[in-house]
Subunit: 381 residues, 4 copies
């Protein structure tokens, strides 16, 4: 029998997590086809869906079943499918442990990390898992400045009681590596993007990838911006307005939290089109949208002889529906990368991310090609 | 000094032709940067803009200067640029000869073709041109069924007085090959897409390419459809509405003429997404649009767990502004291909066409890559 | 106790009918607020929702409960509401009789009409109803030419066995009047819009209104076109594309059936803006849309000094959700009109219709004002 | 001969002013039809276009002819019309005086106002004008808090050297009234909206109107929001994004200046739909838009049985083209109101304004009706 693999979700009670767990259960039961799962298109030797066991951390206690109810109301999954996956959801629910809550007291961040790593190691042991992939899908954090560039300096600081050295996302990445797990950052938070954590991953021979899942406006931009450049058309402005509800919308209503997301989106456009493009970008919280996200982009461009033209886009997506299969894909791919001994940042996974770590490639088609090539090197089926 | 090259436009008094000529004159005079010219991005040894001399055929006599006046009104070029290119336009005007008019009497189509080829050969001789590239930018024709599959059978039929064997676009391609010229079909008309003409091109060692310049809705589709497939998302419907004025709009108001265009657009989508996608498509003639084209596309797609999402696009383009630089690019590329001894259909130019002859690749990014590779094989600069 | 009123739906098993019945049951049970019910805004003495009893004709036998299931899938009503209205649906279901099927044999159309009128009279008697309002919500028919302008001539022709004199919608109107009922045509079919039927209504002292419920693109046009005229802006073109699924979409896929709908829409725009506006209009059947309708309108207009501007609209509606409360409103209003002795066409109800009978007013705000005034004359509460 | 009337523009060298002057000259010369001029639709006795003489204040010295050149480039008027109005523009140019510049030193605001009023009185005398209407079309100011509620207290404060009591727009209104002129505020600045200025207008028996010309997104909202309320549909959110270039765009890039505009827009929507609607609103400065403004609105609404629907709008306007004819209309109407002895705020002109002074009516159709009625009371032609 194939080896069993753990998928450990940080933010396990959120929309993306709940959709990923629902989908995994439904895929395993053959209730739905793997639409949206990129790994199904790859020529690679990846674990089957039923190899996976799910657990995770969160700081709220809402049962997954409750969360799924509201996803049904918002059109993320149907009433019928939801009815068939109840026991699978409960099983995952039983594996969710209290996350690291920056607002709650803890002796030192080192202690907290030890506790997180322990939860993961215990999960791996109890289920006799060959390996565990940790994926961060917790709420977006505001950007922070972390001082300690070397692992030694970082660990020294973490040990001091009362010291707040790392944001939660980075503490989780630290704990994941300490527990010997591959790590994926699906959020725009600081997470793994620190020199000291890169050092840790490499010294522990662990692969990681990130960051900020590319599921909406940025996905479309990554597909369309290269159209303009390959046709030698000059983009003058590319403006964006994002309307979203849900938990993510509520978080991003706070400008400090939105800053990470806006920075990640803006970097992508500049990488694709250069710095000269006027590119105002807004994220608005509109509660009635629920899980829906609507993004409107307006592109002004100049053609031959100075002619002025434009393109407008309205994207109407269900964010969690787009994110969840990618989370499962990343679990499969990182498990295989771990098994194959890949170490450090996996830039070839840029296809999945708004702000790809370890890669400067933002053009979607090129990212797809890199992914397919990389997957082939993992051993084909 | 570099060799001089002829660009012979069939439909030389139309919008695309007039814009291409205006642009060539303006580029030569350094009045405008080569925005929209794809060949500027290629690593290839291509003729400079001032190597080109322009002539052509048309069945109307409106002076190019007059045509350009209306292009200025429609925003295709500015009043200022138009003022500086008058003498260049007049020079091109003097090289335009009466085209083949199917409504006018001619002894046999063979005679007519001889006359057309003679005009081109005379132009080449007078200007001491190393070679001439013929580009068809005449009005779109209705689809026709041509019987004769071998060159011999075709030529026999052409010689019979009163016989209408070929539509004008194909007669022009025939004449171009008989005159020893490379040929490009920028329209969706039958043109060169006949076995007998392919035979002729190959036996005369001439390259050709086509068809139907990809400048608007289809360009965007070629960039976006692969986004859905590479993400394993299932497109359910992709509907299109095109509003256009201008000469092209007036021609396409007639359903028979529109049929060629609709067929060419529809084939592209099916090639990208499969046959199962509901894809109604309309072209409406809206005179007040002038040279502007507005296209609205609505894409419905299904994601993970059956979630329903959509993307809407509104493209607002100036068709001739988008087409003209491609016509110049194709002249440069086909001249180089001719010089390099390339023969028959050049499928690597699929990047330029809605309905690429000699290629099944419809994904824009892949087409761009093929073009860049092909161009490199022509010898880099 | 207030008098009891019958609502007799022709096409009682269709989407509009099933939504209206669901809504009536839900309103009566206080499950939902009367959002979308215009009569709630009127200062008039109208029957309460629980005064109504529903019955109808249809030519299919799909149970209402089954129909409602698919409406839930399409987002017209929630799973929760659907669960609470089952017995109300069944009660209505038991009152649906076989409609007039033009494909089925019947001795003469006069016989058929007698049978239809009998069903309605029987329903009125059994439920001790003070009056019955008949509303046609059956599938749209192709336009037809009816010869007989006087009631006498019409009835003579109807009596001839085998003669097909009237389309089903008109036969239903005839039967309604013969049964002494007020009549509303919610469809663009010929229905009541015949001189002989007007004669019958007036001689029986019955009120009627129509036609073609105004629920989507035309509603928006009726609100927006007056903006342009009141600002002295010149609309040059107003193009429309309608994408729809559902039963209505399937019917309208047939160009003959679509003709009635297109004619009704086009007349409205011409009445609002004059005949000079270029106004191509398309209806496409896109099955994946289900009950959803998406309409895209593009308006080009000219302002001061010849400036060119535009407005684009994308309407995303659930047709039956918009239609159903209007059907209930019309039942209330026509019952009151009947009670108040109003006779003949009620042009003051133009607010509800795309192609208002008895009125030339197409401006929405003016129609609203007329409706409010008319309602006040029925006696305020 | 009819009486001659002055139109005094504060901000006379801006886009709106330059377009209004161009248009007036062109209308007088019969070069263009009065498209966009609402007064042409009224049944009222208004001065003809050639009764008007133009002058004004501004704080820059760019010649009108120069400004018009850039309006031509941006599509506001054609090269041809611009060529025919040069001498008319020069005549207006000669009547523009230095405006009140808050950055320049002046003894007291009372002195400054005296100088402004003197310029206007001098203009009236030299041209033997029956009356002058002052229209503020200067750059939008940030909102300010003005202390003095009575005219006496205000004038006392104005007299103190060095005191900055009023923002420029209000000082201009004060000067206009002191010079015996009717006043219109076409901007969202504080302007005339102060109790002390209302007192002054009434005591001098002068009419005034304002504020903030309604030319784009808000115009469309005023037409569309009543559609939802008259149909009892519940608007949940109405979001707006405005992209604009030009001088107005540059001014509004500064959040302090944008605040006045956003407040004026937001008040309108709340007045139409109530306070519960989520209504984020953005104004972005996108230089490549020039005089073009593109606004995207997304409306989410709830219908019967809780169904969720949406409407999207993209407005593509030339702001100055829409504003200029209204400025001319207001000059005509206020001259007539002045002649007819109307005093104080003219709420019946709400049709023209985003934030109508003296009126609570925001529904466009109702505003149009009020305007037509009010105009009739001025004496019909
Ligand atoms: N949905 C998408 O398409 C998408 C795309 C890219 C990135 N993301 C990112 O994924 C993340 C999750 O999005 P979502 O829509 O599921 O949001 P959500 O608000 O529904 O879920 C976030 C979850 O994280 C939990 N959480 C918060 N702080 C935590 C902590 N310190 N430790 C553990 N758990 C914590 C919350 O309790 C919540 O259950 C966000 O950061 C979002 O920006 C989502
Ligand atoms: N503009 C674009 O973006 C674009 C893109 C793809 C294809 N095309 C195709 O390019 C062609 C030209 O487009 P346009 O906008 O310039 O149209 P147009 O109507 O302005 O010009 C067509 C010209 O062809 C001439 N013509 C007609 N029949 C002829 C004949 N038998 N021989 C010689 N000349 C003839 C006409 O007189 C006219 O001058 C069309 O077939 C169009 O479908 C254009
Ligand atoms: N939904 C809207 O917003 C809207 C607006 C305006 C007009 N309408 C019109 O309302 C009608 C109903 O729309 P729908 O979406 O419910 O369509 P539907 O196809 O769901 O329902 C039509 C029903 O009519 C029945 N029918 C067909 N022929 C009949 C006959 N001869 N006698 C009795 N019943 C017959 C059908 O069996 C079906 O049950 C259509 O004509 C449509 O054009 C609908
Ligand atoms: N264009 C529209 O559709 C529209 C609609 C509503 C309101 N408005 C308002 O009209 C005003 C003008 O818009 P625009 O596009 O012409 O802007 P603009 O920037 O082109 O012109 C403004 C002019 O005002 C002048 N000015 C600045 N301060 C002044 C002062 N203290 N005294 C006299 N002049 C001064 C400037 O020098 C400039 O010439 C703005 O306040 C704008 O918000 C315009
Ligand atoms: Na990167
Ligand atoms: Na007000």
């Amino acid at each position: 029998m194939a080896e069993r693999i753990g998928l450990w979700l940080n933010g396990a009670r959120g929309s993306v997590a709940a959709t990923a767990v629902s989908g995994l259960v439904a895929l395993r039961a053959g209730l739905v086809p793997p639409v949206g799962c990129v790994t199904e298109l790859l020529d690679a030797n990846l674990a089957p869906w039923d190899a996976f066991v799910v657990g995770g951390h969160d700081i709220v206690t809402t049962p997954l079943a409750k969360r799924v109810e509201s996803l049904v109301r918002d059109g993320v999954l149907s009433y019928d499918v939801a009815g068939c996956i109840a026991s699978g959801l409960d099983a995952a629910d039983a594996e969710i442990r209290p996350g690291y809550d920056p607002a709650a007291p803890s002796p030192s961040q080192a202690d907290a990390a030890r506790r997180l790593a322990g939860d993961i190691a215990d999960f791996r042991a109890r289920h006799e898992l060959a390996r565990v992939v940790v994926v961060n899908v917790a709420s977006t954090e505001p950007p922070v400045r972390v001082e300690h560039d070397s692992l030694a300096a970082l660990e020294e600081a973490l040990a001091v009681p009362g010291n707040v050295v790392l944001p939660p996302s980075s503490l989780v990445a630290y704990a994941a590596f300490r527990a010997g797990c591959a790590f994926v950052d699906f959020t725009p938070s600081t997470g793994v993007a620190l020199p000291a954590l890169d050092e840790l991953a490499r010294s522990n021979a662990l692969p990681y990838a990130g960051r900020d899942g590319k599921t909406g406006e940025t996905l479309v931009r990554a597909a369309l911006a290269p159209m303009f450049t390959s046709r030698a058309l000059r983009v003058l402005s590319w403006t964006g307005t994002n309307l979203l509800g849900g938990g993510d919308g509520a978080t991003l209503e706070d400008p400090a939290h939105a800053e990470s997301k806006l920075a990640s989106k803006t970097r992508g456009l500049a990488a694709l089109l250069g710095e000269d493009v006027t590119a105002p970008l807004h994220i608005d919280h509109v509660p009635d949208f629920g899980e829906r996200k609507t993004a409107w982009d307006h592109v002004s461009f100049e053609g031959f002889l100075g002619a002025r033209m434009s393109l407008q886009l309205t994207w109407n997506g269900l964010d969690s529906s787009l994110a969840a299969p990618l989370v499962l894909d990343l679990a499969r791919l990182m498990a295989a990368a771990h098994a194959a001994g890949r170490t450090g940042v996996q830039g070839a996974l840029a296809f999945f991310f708004k702000d790809p770590l370890g890669s400067d490639e933002h053009r979607l088609a090129e990212q797809a090609r890199e992914l397919h090539e990389w997957a082939r090197t993992l051993g084909t089926r």
